[in-house]
């Protein structure tokens, strides 16, 4: 089932044509990977899906981006509300300078998702458990989120993102700053999150894309070259550029 649909999307940064005519269907309860060489536009495109590019004044977007059939760039849509439904995890862990508890409680609080302290406690615990970090932090929820290690910080950021109960989770190279052990934990987590959310992940690691995703889109120079089942893309790519990229001949 389609969760998000884009049709003929173009993105311009000033005069730079960053995304060229991209149409893609993002499925519900599926992990979709965006791969491609640096500067190919995959992160830019990801940031269109929750309108994070709105904060960049020179950025201009044309085309249709739909979520559950509704245009997310329509005048009636408030980007603030959209972002509550489409969560995002960034490349570098960015915990707020607050306690671990308050980091996770931030989203539920500002959206009024809980009525009482005990409900909030429950949401925080559940989110931290789902992000596979509860065991490590349950005794020090009042310590600052920045005191954690890099891998823990990133899992905290994931917990923070899922605490607002989004429908889609965007992840921009979530494991690129992490060591292999933390990466493995994050990947396991992504696989587990798939049961409830539609996950879109940008990654530089093709092994990672192959391991965690069911669908893969290959971007090159602002074009989406190829999109299909991950197994098909990696074993039997149609386009020569995809073939060259996944076999390591460029990029």
């Amino acid at each position: 089932m389609n969760k998000m649909t884009t049709k003929n999307v173009d993105v311009f940064y000033g005069k730079n044509h960053a995304i060229k005519d991209v149409s893609i269907d993002i499925l519900d309860k599926t992990v979709t990977a965006f791969i491609g060489p640096s500067g190919c536009g995959k992160s830019t495109f990801l940031r269109c899906l929750n309108r994070m590019n709105d904060t960049i004044s020179i950025c201009r977007i044309t085309g249709d981006l739909l979520m559950d059939g509704e245009d997310i760039y329509a005048k009636s849509v408030d980007p603030v509300q959209l972002r509550a439904r489409v969560g995002m995890v960034f490349q570098k862990p960015n915990p707020f300078p607050k306690s671990i508890y308050d980091n996770v409680a931030y989203g539920p609080k500002i959206h009024g998702l809980v009525d009482s302290k005990s409900d909030l406690d429950e949401v925080v615990e559940k989110s931290l458990k789902r992000a596979a970090i509860w065991g490590e932090v349950k005794d020090r929820l009042n310590e600052s989120g920045t005191s954690l290690s890099g891998g823990q910080q990133q899992r905290l950021c994931i917990a923070r993102a899922i605490a607002t109960a989004p429908e889609v989770l965007l992840m921009d190279e979530p494991a690129s700053a992490l060591d292999p052990i933390a990466t493995a934990q994050i990947e396991e987590l992504i696989d587990e999150l798939r049961h409830s959310y539609s996950v879109v992940i940008v990654t530089h690691s093709m092994q990672q894309a192959a391991r965690v995703s069911q669908k893969t889109a290959f971007f090159h120079m602002g074009d989406m070259v190829e999109y299909g089942d991950t197994s098909a893309i990696f074993t039997n790519p149609v386009d020569q550029r995809t073939q060259d990229y996944i076999t390591g001949r460029f990029g």
Partner: protein, 395 residues
């Protein structure tokens, strides 16, 4: 004569730079790589050695009233010795780097030594003053009456007339009024500039603020005395409130306005240095800009904002000119901001510029300065502890 000798020493040292450089080139037999140090370092070493030994002997000669030409001789000898010793293996680079490090250390030392010297002289003079009032420090700190030089006979100071309570209260009141004005306006201006203003507007406002910060305080003092004080008096008159023509309120308001630019400029820098990734993280959770500023950006910037405010406090505490002009010189013990008050710094000025014998006036003046120094030091230490406790380190 002396200046001429100094120029000569410098020229000699420069001459040795080129001589030693040439000698090093010759010592290399045309293979530059065979030298331990590059020729320029050999030159630099001779230059430094000649220059420094010349300068040091010049100073000694001046103190001992010897002929300054002696120092020129020493400079030549030092240059010659260093030049004659040059071989391909001479470690001229290491040696000259050591000397340069030493010079840098010396410059850093000047600041430290000056501070120590000032503090020592303050302590010493304060000690003498306390001695002269029979160690009635309690009367000095808590006494309600300040007129140290009135009715003074034989230079003996009456401990009952040196109570600094009115001055401390005046300083605290004016600083308080100033901060009440400067804190909200300065902070809100900084928040607007860094988070909400368009780049174009920011490009206009920020330089204007910096111009405002560069206006000499005497201009503000003038403004306070000529415009603000009469305005307050008339406004007070309308409501039947008696406002003195020189009042703590007038001085406080003007000082507050004066320190707005420094607070907002500094706070703006601090808020700007909060990483964009934190803002993005908050937006991505569906937070509005206001929520992001209030709950993420400001807490992250808090230690820096605190130091910006503290800078404002120290400027307000140390401000003299505005207070002299707008708040008066009479030491009234009052907590009514509509009356004339005076501050610690103003009284120092009055003591030193007054026509009393300097040796008599210096005692109370130095003691006041020492008290002020202790107060600001205490404030600074408190602030540093606070900042260290809450500082977050971002990559």
């Amino acid at each position: 004569m002396s200046g001429f000798v100094l120029v000569l020493i410098f020229l000699v040292a420069v001459g040795f730079f080129f001589l030693s450089r040439q000698k090093a080139l010759l010592a290399s037999d045309g293979v530059l790589a065979s030298l331990h140090s590059r020729p320029d370092y050999h030159g630099l070493y001779s230059f430094l050695l000649s220059m420094l030994s010349g300068l040091v002997t010049f100073i000694i000669c001046t103190i001992l009233a010897l002929n300054p030409l002696l120092s020129l001789l020493i400079a030549v000898i030092a240059g010659l010795v260093s030049g004659l010793n040059i071989t391909a293996n001479t470690r001229a680079r290491n040696k000259s780097e050591k000397i340069v490090t030493g010079i840098l250390f010396g410059c850093a030392g000047v600041a430290v030594l000056t501070t120590i010297g000032i503090v020592l002289s303050l302590v010493f003079e304060t000690f003498n003053f306390f001695d002269s009032i029979g160690w009635r420090v309690d009367k000095f700190l808590f006494g309600p009456r300040w007129s140290p030089l009135s009715g003074l006979q034989d230079g003996v100071i009456d401990p009952d007339r040196v109570g600094i309570m009115p001055l401390l209260l005046g300083t605290a009141m004016i600083t308080g009024i100033a901060m009440l004005i400067a804190t909200p306006i300065g902070l809100f201006a900084a928040i607007y500039l860094s988070e909400f203003a368009s780049l174009r507007l920011r490009g206009w406002i920020k330089p204007m603020m910096e111009v405002l910060a560069g206006i000499p305080t005497v201009v503000y003092g003038f403004f306070a005395a000529i415009t603000v004080a009469p305005l307050l008096r008339e406004t007070g008159g309308l409501f039947g409130v008696n406002v003195a023509s020189e009042s703590a309120l007038a001085a406080g308001i003007v000082i507050g306005i004066m320190i707005i630019p420094s607070i907002s400029s500094l706070a703006d820098d601090v808020i700007n240095s909060v990483p964009q990734s934190l803002r993005d993280g908050s937006y991505a959770l569906g937070a509005t800009q206001a929520e992001t500023v209030r709950q993420v950006v400001l807490p992250a910037a808090l230690p820096g904002i605190f130091s910006a405010l503290l800078l404002g406090v120290s400027r307000a505490v140390g401000e003299t000119m505005v207070v002299v002009m707008a708040a008066g010189q009479g030491a009234n013990l009052t907590i009514n901001p509509l009356e004339a008050v005076t501050t610690v710094t103003v009284q120092i000025v009055m003591l030193i510029t007054g026509d009393t014998d300097a040796s008599t006036a210096a005692g109370p003046a130095f003691s006041l300065a020492f008290t002020l120094f202790c107060l600001t030091l205490f404030l600074n230490i408190l602030a540093m502890r606070f900042v260290r406790k809450y500082r977050e380190v971002y990559e």
